[in-house]
């Protein structure tokens, strides 16, 4: 399996290396996005993620295919969590595996940047006294 594309309730960061390992890969780059305690100096209680799952999986698959082709990767993982996540919990993990390290670093950056632009997943920040849909308004 060249690509792993998933929406899950809980991200298990421990298994991503096995998913990306490949006899032809000298380099593996992984990015994990996690919940930070403060946003603009306001304390975050939790993030709540929802998705349009059928479309999100399709868009994640397109991103993976584009990266596989552009950088000649051996393996790609894109996995996003949904539901409520507390501080320090992982919300997204993306990874790329390639012969040399240039490719996996560039591809990994592309995966997370493009995911944030195109994949239909929405995040609500829950503060003590309010909740805000991120990026919804100017």
């Amino acid at each position: 399996m060249k690509k792993v594309i998933e929406i899950v309730d809980v991200i298990d960061t421990a298994k991503v290396y096995a998913e990306l390992s490949d006899a032809n890969s000298g380099g593996i780059c992984v990015f994990v996005g996690a919940v930070r305690e403060f946003t603009n100096n306001e304390e975050v209680v939790a993030l709540e993620f929802e998705t349009y799952e059928a479309m999100a999986l399709k868009e994640m698959g397109k991103i993976a295919d584009a990266a596989l082709a552009r950088w000649g990767l051996n393996k790609v993982v894109i996995r996003h969590a949904v539901g409520e996540k507390s501080v320090e919990e992982p919300v997204v993990i993306v990874g790329a595996s390639s012969a040399h390290r240039d490719a996996c670093f560039e591809a990994c950056r592309f995966l997370i940047d493009t995911l944030k632009e195109t994949v239909p997943i929405w995040k609500k920040e829950k503060f003590k006294n309010k909740t805000v849909w991120v990026s919804a308004h100017p």
């Binding site: 929802e50 479309m55 195109t118 994949v119 239909p120 997943i121 849909w133 990026s135 919804a136």
Partner: protein, 81 residues
């Protein structure tokens, strides 16, 4: 056939529902007319950073025509990751 439209994120909150239906005679016939109708009914939609439409789970631009058999979804600004 009625046309169902799915809502997510902030648009679900604005509409107060995750799905609305247009009966036959009121169905919008293009993505552009669907957006126009939604903004007329829910003025809050015009304040969003962006408002995209997915037809059969693919982004569709304003020119795409609708026959009412598609799965249609409203995509407010995404914020995954």
């Amino acid at each position: 056939m009625i046309m169902n439209v799915l809502f997510f994120g902030i648009t679900k909150d604005i509409v107060g529902s995750s799905e609305i239906s247009f009966s036959n005679e009121l169905k919008p016939t293009s993505v552009a007319s669907l957006k126009k109708r939604l903004i007329e009914s829910y003025p809050e939609f015009s304040k969003l950073n962006s408002l995209a439409v997915a037809v059969n789970s693919e982004y569709a631009d304003d020119s795409v025509l609708l026959n009412g058999n598609e799965e249609i979804a409203i995509i407010p600004p995404v914020s995954g990751g």
